[in-house]
Amino acid sequence: MSNNPISRRNFLGLAAGAAGAAALAACGSSGPSNSGGSSSGGSGGGAASYWSLSGPPGEPYRQAAIDRFNKANPDSKITGTFFQNDAYKQKIKTALGANQGPTMIWGWGGGGLKEYVTSGQVEDLTSWLGENAAVKSKILPSSFGAGTVDGKIYALPVETVQPIVLFYNKKVFESAGLQPPKSWGEIMALVPQFNAKKIAPFSLGGQSRWTNMMWLEFLLDRTAGSEVFDKVFAGEKGAWSDPAVLDMLTKIQDLVKANGFQKGFSSTTADSNADQALLYTGKAAMMLHGSWSYGIQKEQGGNFVKDGGLGWMNFPAVEGGKGDPSNTVGNPGQYLSISSKATTEAKDIAKKFFSTTLVDDEEKAGWVKSGGVPVLTGSESLFTGDDAGFLKDMATIANGAKVFAQSWDQALSPTAAETLLDNIAKLFQLQVSPQQWVDAMNGVIGK
């Protein structure tokens, strides 16, 4: 007991030492030991590393791009490593925190990219893209938004544009003798009609939280336009207090209370695709989901997509709403940044990769084949075969949108996104009132 103070002092002394050590370790390794990432062999020639997500539909095309580049550039080598979605998020953070990240950092742009920028982790590509206008012109202009922080471009849009759309089961509508909705009022009118037929009006993988978020994004945009969220994004104090937000939240809870979603939707997960299965098995009539769901339903739903069972549209207008119904929400692209900690040599390889392989025709054709609309311009001519109709519509939605807003959880900082997803889940379970929701969210504005 008597030597308690001493031991505490020692403890703090040790802690201070450790703090120094941790800081040193974090800074120190940015020195010469860092070759822009992995210890992937001390290859004498040029080497750059690239981390991204594993699994279908993207991995094969990512790997193909790397192979193509390595073949065309025998004296420089890109090594790709692929991680599962959740695993990647942790892995990249740990690696960057220790200054051991890859040369090329794959991401979703928005708030996550902003953190990289404020931490000085990624290269400013603005002037490089200025010098290489040809590269920039090959990419859809609307995709650059989420790769831009404070007017400077820090990430190259790659891969595909993924708007969120309202999918519906045409067969279910046909047999029920109902028409797809053209407005929010019609949606609410359809709800009791489907419920009476024991079909869930909407399928929702509510356990995954971000699925619920898509509803808020569209409803807010349709009622109040994109300005409200822009204010939130800009970190304006009390930006969530806009009356349109309360109105939107009330509408959502009305939909929940009217049994707009399948029974037990909070236990349904999007990651096993159970929400999509509800739609293609006809247990639900409609579903709001990312455009990638098309590929999943095509692969898993038997002949559902092939026989024309799947319908899609942009989210309908809300009566009296100020938002432009052409607006859309989703992923305006995926994003590739260059680590500022990489060696000049590795950076040059990455830039070469950006300006050649990632904007070539094979890249474009590959992503079309994967079932997506590429971020590269002029891909419409490639839309052929079964998927042509869907791809054309997605391209129309993406290109025709006055505002292509990025998903909120990706646009906001990771800190705010956590609170957002949490509160959205509570909103859908009617655990919080719209006002409580607004108060909670105002608390993390600008964080």
Partner: protein, 307 residues
């Protein structure tokens, strides 16, 4: 010391020599100690240090005094997470212990089919928490799960979407995963109880229940302590299962400390507060393990030194 009378010295000798032998035995503890300090304590001190900083996990580490601690301690989520942690610990212990003992006692009698049962019971242990979580999420799906498979609508509940049900489901899955292991331990322990004890009490006309209470349970005392230690300490740090199963949801209904720490640190990028939570977690664990130590150490400690 030297003035102590000869007979006393003789009885004291062994125990003193035990104490005196700490020299010869000390080095035996060194490999474990050094190893653990290197990969456990040094990183922990790093975390302690981080709890006095602001760091988003990727940028620069900025010392910020007590900011993280203030934020953490004033967050209403903290007492809630402590409560959830305690709840998971207490409930999973309360469910697993009696079940494991009963099953263990039953399996202890050697019949072939019971050994077969023991093999099957072992399987859940071999599966990773992630695989278990994926399996249960599929089975508990209100549209495509167990309920629709068996045609029992009662099973189509909002298992993971309702706060109370989600906690119950979590406890059930933890039990599913670990009861087999603890049954196995108890099975081993029960086989160790001398048969003569039962025979004697049978002569006294004791029934099965009384035998269980007066012989089996007291004989299992130390096994219960060991198994409880594993359960309690394990429940503190387990994380994968909750992460994949509910991610702490619905809302924050199953957000235990370890998960709260992970979400603060790796999802919200608040490494400072996350480190503070980690330190709290270690303190909670320390208190718990001291209590368990007291229970398990049964005073031999003091006897050895005091003698």
């Amino acid at each position: 010391m030297t003035t102590i009378a000869p007979p006393v010295v003789r009885t004291k000798e062994p125990s003193r020599s035990t104490g005196g032998r700490s020299g010869p035995v000390l080095w035996m503890a060194l490999p474990a100690f050094v190893w653990f300090v290197f990969f456990g304590i040094i990183p922990l001190l790093g975390v302690l240090a981080l709890s006095f900083t602001t760091w988003n996990g990727i940028g620069e580490i900025v010392p910020s005094g007590l900011d993280s601690w203030k934020a953490t301690l004033s967050d209403p989520g903290l007492p809630h997470a402590l409560w959830v942690t305690f709840l998971i610990m207490a409930l999973s212990w309360a469910v697993q212990t009696p079940m494991s003992i009963l099953i263990g006692v039953f399996l202890a009698t050697s019949k072939r089919y019971r050994e077969f049962l023991a093999v099957l019971f072992f399987i859940p242990l071999l599966l990773s928490s992630a695989a278990i979580a994926i399996t249960y999420k599929a089975l508990l799906d209100p549209s495509f799960g167990l309920g629709s498979g068996l045609g029992i609508d009662l099973l189509n509940q909002d298992w993971l979407g309702n706060s109370t049900l989600a906690m119950a489901t979590l406890i059930f899955i933890v039990s599913w995963q670990f009861i087999p292991f603890h049954s196995l331990i108890y099975q081993g322990a029960v086989r160790q109880i001398p048969t003569s004890m039962y025979e004697a009490s049978q002569i006294d006309g004791a029934g099965r229940v009384r035998q269980f209470i007066s012989i089996t349970l007291p004989q299992l005392k130390y096994t219960i302590i060991t198994s409880s230690t594993l359960m309690v300490v394990g429940s503190l740090t387990f994380f994968d299962l909750i992460y994949v199963l509910t991610a702490g949801g619905p809302g924050d209904a199953t957000r235990a400390l370890a998960l709260a720490m992970y979400q603060q640190g790796f999802q919200a990028n608040l490494m400072g507060p996350a480190s503070a939570i980690a330190v709290i977690l270690v303190l909670v664990g320390l208190v718990l393990s001291l209590v368990l130590r007291r229970l398990g150490g049964r005073a031999d400690d003091s006897q050895l030194e005091g003698a």
